[in-house]
Symmetry: C2
């Protein structure tokens, strides 16, 4: 056999194998995450509203976890997704323990009503699993990066039920302004197999968001969409700035004592919850997120969620930022649909995707997310929305570890 | 005003402006191309089947055009899309005259029944217009590249009525294995405005391909799709090899005398047309391409088209390779649907996209093409099909000027 073909076959088989293994492991672990979270956050918390009063104590527990078990030498699991991104860049080793810790931290945050998602936990567990396999098989540095990207893809694909987006997200996440295809095969295999395992084997049901009407294509509608997206991208910038501001301030003020930080964060959330008089902005807030596609929601819901989430995650609670961003975008879209003459479900969908894109800085993955979440409706609008949001969110973002490959303009 | 924001605003405005200008000019010129081609290829040729006998003479005319007007110093328009790609890499200047010449060459090829498309002409005209504007505004080298990508996007978006694909195609075309986002804004603006102009102002109607049934997601169906895609990517490799082989051979044999090359090519096509006894494989062959979604077509139609097109384009006729690749893929899919148990229209669609992807080496653009052409149906399958085809088509492709950024495995 020709040497080149043999090398091709070996490499291909290697990546299909590792992609499959990572996909199966991460798909199962993500299913466990989703089911446990649903149980803690919906079944338990929703029936015991007093749990929120224990959020400050829960904060101490989360802080304790990270302070005592999160670090190893100079590597700190508290960096969350940034650590995974640094890992892809070869700047830091991802810790295997990161996955279990972020799971436990997410369970605690969710049970006691912090405002958070869970896909960050899925992505970080993906990174941990990739790292563990990596150490087990003793692969080289270049492959380490691909392993991590593969883990990210598996976590994202399984957490959202969007395998295409998962595959691209793993490749697009780590750098602003480019996408390299080197990890195409393992990311594809891991994202699809993780999704398949989560849905077919573990019977995970994902949320469905339905766009009722898509406006017919016209220059005027595009103009309105672009205007709305400018507002959405501003929202994502404000969120990212506030969240990082809170983090920096509390880390400095409490000398990196995560227990004190999260305790105060918990107190603030309890206070805010009492002020707004509802627990709509605690937890994932899936109910209001779904409502924002079908009926009017409070006009400042997006702002409440922004503050709740920035405090929750800025003071050291964990989980994920995608669902809160979806919430902010969709509810703001809902609010704007009363001012900009566009269908409510359509503008909620645009907001959901645009705010996510502005934070994650992954325009192609965000667009694919829209294709997968909304069944290929209104793709022309979503593509423009993602690009505009990407451009106007500037070099801010959820994860400072993303390298700036190409300045956006 | 903050200097950074001012610079951002100026750059953004610049690219929106140039993207819009290129989009409007290229959109109009592409509309002219499509309308003229439809007139020559459908209205005239279909009613005067004897025109095919003049194809050898037409070949002399096309060769004459390129030999006498196509060159300037060392730059040769006969390189077609490769010249545009070289232009983006800064290796060669694109000639302004390339656009008019490829248009005329395409009209002649189409009128006398060469087997070709027309989107190559649209892309090359896009490059020419970008180059002309570029020289007019005297922009610098880095911007020259972006200008060319913008022109490519406009041509592709308008020619196929797929603005999203057009935007990404311009960014993805030039290198294997990566996509840089530097040209995001101008490519988006030019592709959308060109498409808008072609449809809303010039009333271009694009073909519609409808997938009747998409199989429900299962591992077994994925296995069958992957098997089919392996065959499709093999087809694209064979086509590319044959077409380049014919080109190399005839160029050497006739000492780059394009008139002699195309004359002989024309003779061969006439002979083959008489042998098969139908003109189904001359021109764009849209009728059979559409049939392949709804009814059985001749089982070896794909092979006939492969040979007709490789000879037509390999001997120096011009037009475009996408539509012939669509034809080969869809008809082979049609044939395979009798052996692999998958719905006919579904497999025809998979073939169309997979063969195109294998030739163009643009997996993300090919996937987006599927989303736009087939209304977002079966996206999970198309994504896998594009990646598999991209991987298995190896480093062959339609355009040797694509640089290999990342080996595929």
């Amino acid at each position: 056999m020709n040497v080149k073909i043999k090398k091709f076959a070996v490499t291909l088989f290697k990546w299909i194998f590792f992609g499959g293994v990572i996909g199966i492991v991460v798909g199962s672990l993500t299913s466990f995450l989703l089911k446990t979270n649903d149980f803690l956050g919906d079944d338990i918390r929703m029936n015991h509203f007093w749990l929120i009063y224990f959020l400050p104590l829960a904060g101490i527990a989360v802080g304790f976890l990270y302070m005592n078990y999160g670090k190893k030498e100079s590597v700190d699991s508290a960096k969350g997704n940034n650590l995974v991104i640094d890992g892809v860049h070869g700047k830091a080793g991802v810790l295997r323990r990161m996955g279990p810790i972020v799971y436990l931290g997410t369970f605690i945050t969710v049970l006691f009503g912090g405002s958070t998602g869970r896909e960050g936990a899925a992505v970080q567990m993906g990174g941990s699993v990739a790292q563990a396999l990596n150490q087990f098989f003793k692969v080289n540095l270049l492959d380490t990066k691909i392993f991590l990207m593969t883990g990210i893809s598996a976590g994202f694909g399984a957490a959202f039920g969007t395998p295409i987006t998962g595959a691209v997200f793993g490749m697009e996440l780590t750098a602003l302004g480019k996408m390299k295809y080197e990890a195409l095969v393992p990311c594809l295999v891991s994202s699809y197999s993780a999704h398949f395992l989560a849905t077919a084997v573990w019977r995970i049901k994902h949320e469905e968001f339905i766009i009722e009407t898509v406006p017919s294509l016209s220059a005027w509608t595009f103009a309105k969409v672009i205007l709305a997206v400018l507002i959405f991208s501003l929202l994502s910038v404000i969120y990212c700035q506030l969240r990082h501001g809170i983090q920096k301030f509390t880390e400095k003020f409490f000398h990196k004592n995560h227990m004190k930080r999260a305790f105060v964060g918990g107190l603030l959330i309890v206070g805010l919850t009492l002020i707004v008089g509802t627990q709509d902005y605690n937890g994932r807030g899936l109910e209001m997120l779904e409502h924002s596609f079908t009926e009017d929601v409070p006009p400042f819901a997006f702002l409440a969620k922004l503050i709740f989430t920035a405090i929750t995650l800025g003071t050291g609670f964990v989980g994920g930022e995608a669902i809160p961003l979806f919430f902010m975008g969709a509810t703001l879209g809902n609010t704007l649909s009363n001012m900009i003459d566009l269908p409510m479900s359509f503008l909620a969908a645009i907001g959901l995707v645009a705010v996510f894109c502005g934070g994650a800085n992954t325009p192609i993955a965000a667009f694919l997310l829209a294709v997968e979440l909304f069944d290929g409706k209104g793709v022309e609008y979503f593509f423009v929305a993602c690009i505009v949001s990407y451009i106007f969110s500037g070099h801010h973002g959820l994860w400072p570890s993303q390298t700036i490959h190409e300045p956006k303009s």
